[in-house]
């Protein structure tokens, strides 16, 4: 097929895969920030933790990748509840600055801890045979793992969408994000909701971290080096908006890929240029509430 079409397909496909990773990790951050206005800079640390759990499960216990990913998401999600109850809870009413300071502190501690247990050398996980190499979709071939990543993303989106738009809890969360006081006054237990979303968000982050090993490798500093990326997705998407986070992930993922592909020299530029462009026009992000 013609070159330009081929290029376009490559960009869309790779961008889509990248976008899925961004979405999976960022969505939890977006909802928790939207719900409680809680700035959680330790979110990346949960992703990193998830990654290492997967490493342990696959390498030391010899589990398959898929079960490991699921277990890791659940484990990290569960553990995150303790942090939420023990530490985060104390800072709901606190200022952003205090939240920033504590969560950055947690991220630092997470990095040191991971270094202690896993060492600084980047880890990777063995892939099952069917995820190696590439799949042929007739008109051209695509890397299997990325196809898999996209599939996982699609499934998650479906599940989240259902949970968010169709279930009672989802409705409550949306209500709380929209107007917390109101929600509380009609008897919604926002704190409980937050614990829930926090756990789910952290679990998703962990899943994202696990999936990212194949993409970006995994070392302790994973906890912070991609944080900016996640925050950008959240800001561009709009706090607490599932739709927004998805759209932002897609736009940023695809633009970033296109930029790297077409204008490698200015590669780093694009994602930020897009961010600025969007925020200047829509300060609250794609689907955020204007203040």
């Amino acid at each position: 097929m013609p070159q330009f079409a081929n290029i376009a397909v490559s960009i869309l496909f790779d961008g889509l895969a990248y976008a899925m990773f961004l979405f999976i990790v960022s969505v939890g951050l977006s909802v928790t920030m939207g719900l409680m206005g809680f700035v959680n800079l330790a979110h990346g640390a949960f992703a990193m933790a998830g990654g290492y759990v997967v490493v342990s499960l696959t390498r030391n216990l010899g589990l398959g990748l898929i079960p490991s990913l699921i277990i890791s998401a659940i484990v990290v999600g569960a553990v995150s509840v303790f942090f939420e109850r023990g530490l985060y809870r104390r800072l709901y009413k606190a200022t952003d600055l205090e939240q920033v300071m504590m969560t950055i502190g947690l991220a630092f501690m997470a990095i040191a801890t991971a270094t202690y247990f896993y060492g600084p050398i980047p880890k990777s996980v063995p892939l099952p045979q069917w995820l190696q190499g590439d799949v042929n979709l007739g008109f051209r071939t695509f890397p299997s793992y990325r196809a898999f990543l996209i599939a996982v993303g699609a499934v998650l989106i479906a599940v989240l969408w259902y949970g968010f738009e169709r279930t009672n809890i989802g409705a409550k969360i949306r209500a709380a994000v929209d107007n917390r006081r109101m929600a509380e006054s009609v008897g919604i237990n926002v704190d409980l909701l937050f614990t829930l979303t926090f756990a789910v968000g952290s679990g998703l982050a962990a899943l994202g971290g696990g999936l990212a090993i194949q993409l970006l490798g995994l070392s302790p500093s994973f906890a912070v080096i991609y944080l900016v990326l996640f925050l950008i997705v959240v800001a561009v998407g709009g706090l607490g908006s599932l739709k927004g986070t998805l759209l932002a992930a897609l736009v940023l993922g695809i633009f970033d890929t296109a930029g790297k592909y077409l204008f490698a020299d200015a590669g780093g530029f694009f994602i930020y240029a897009v961010t600025v462009a969007v925020l200047l026009v829509k300060p609250a992000g794609f689907y955020g509430r204007e203040q």
Partner: protein
């Protein structure tokens, strides 16, 4: 308390005078304020071997003070402050490397002006936004600046930086020594001047207006304050000061790389400030000292795991001194003064 307000004349006259005196005196120097400078000088004689570190510390301190002006007083939360530090750093760096402008003090002014100019322009556009949006916009601007300079690495030296910069001796008299003694005094003096400037601004009516914007921007509009103009003004000033800090960084290191624009620096300076306490002038002092001294100590204790110590410090600080070390002291003070008859 409220009941007392119905008290008789003389009492109220006294109350009036007390209140008036408080505002009349507040901006005057107290002896306590000499303490940091005394300590700084004492350190110079006590730790002659640590002056290179001390020098870095003072530069970060100045950087933190500039951030306090906008974050602590005007309530502008930014993650792009390193941009101005970097501009100042590169102003003198490129000046020395390309134009042979090696006179340090004039270099400081040049750096301040350039950084302030960029601060003015970016502030004009960005300060209409607040919160996370502003956070991301400032952050993105800083990184784009860095990327742009890296594109022209033939000119900026990229991440290998501009090596072997040499600057004229200070005032043509004092040459930079290996032990950083001259540097330390140099930076300390500049810091003293800059800090006094900031202190004046903070206690000026303009400074009051800034705190007003921080406390309640809606009301500021309602009482007729040109909020945007105020914010852009202070942002420009803070940018200039950050630029001076950056310039000192390059001059005292005789070296600069693009990493000065790193997001990490913006974050680090913010953390140090919060740790010390925002909007309290001396919060920057305490925060910087506590953070950097402990960082130095931990990283010698364990070059690999020191981050754990710093992390723990931050978490503990939030839980026990949420409004920073100075905030803690202040609260204690209020608590005690309550006890007084």
């Amino acid at each position: 308390m409220a009941a007392n307000s119905d008290a008789i004349g003389p009492h109220r006259a006294a109350a009036r005078e007390r209140a008036a005196q408080y505002l009349l005196r507040r901006h005057r120097f107290t002896w306590a304020e000499a303490l940091p400078w005394v300590i700084a000088l004492a350190c110079f004689f006590l730790f002659p071997g640590r002056m290179v570190f001390g020098n870095q510390l003072l530069i970060w301190l100045m950087f933190a003070v500039s951030l306090d002006l906008i974050l602590g007083y005007a309530g502008i939360v930014t993650l792009g402050h390193a941009a101005f530090f970097g501009i100042g750093a590169y102003a003198v760096g490129l000046g020395a490397a390309k134009l042979g402008w090696t006179e340090p003090i004039s270099g400081l002014f040049a750096a301040a002006l350039l950084a302030a100019l960029v601060g003015f322009i970016s502030g004009w556009f960005l300060l209409r936004y607040r919160g996370l949006t502003l956070l991301m916009l400032t952050l993105a601007t800083a990184i784009m600046l860095q990327e742009a300079l890296n594109l022209r690495s033939d000119f900026s030296g990229g991440y290998d930086g501009l090596p072997g910069l040499t600057f004229k001796p200070l005032l043509g008299l004092f040459d930079y020594d290996l032990y950083g003694h001259v540097n330390y005094i140099y930076v300390l003096i500049v810091l003293a001047i800059v800090f006094n400037l900031v202190r004046r601004i903070v206690y000026s009516p303009f400074g009051q207006a800034l705190t007003g914007i921080r406390e309640n921007v809606r009301r500021m509009h309602a009482i007729g304050s040109p909020v945007h103009r105020r914010l852009v003004t202070v942002y420009t000033i803070a940018a200039g000061i950050a630029g001076v800090a950056g310039a000192l960084f390059t001059q005292t290191n005789a070296y600069v790389t693009l990493s000065v624009f790193d997001f990490d620096n913006s974050a680090k300076v913010m953390i140090m400030l919060i740790l010390g306490g925002t909007g309290r002038l001396y919060g920057a002092f305490i925060g910087t000292v506590v953070y950097m001294v402990l960082e130095d100590y931990f990283s010698k204790l364990s070059p690999t795991f020191w981050q754990f110590g710093i992390g723990l410090l931050l978490v503990v600080a939030v839980l026990f001194a949420p409004r920073g070390v100075l905030g803690l002291i202040e609260d204690a003070g209020r608590f005690l003064s309550r006890r007084k008859p």
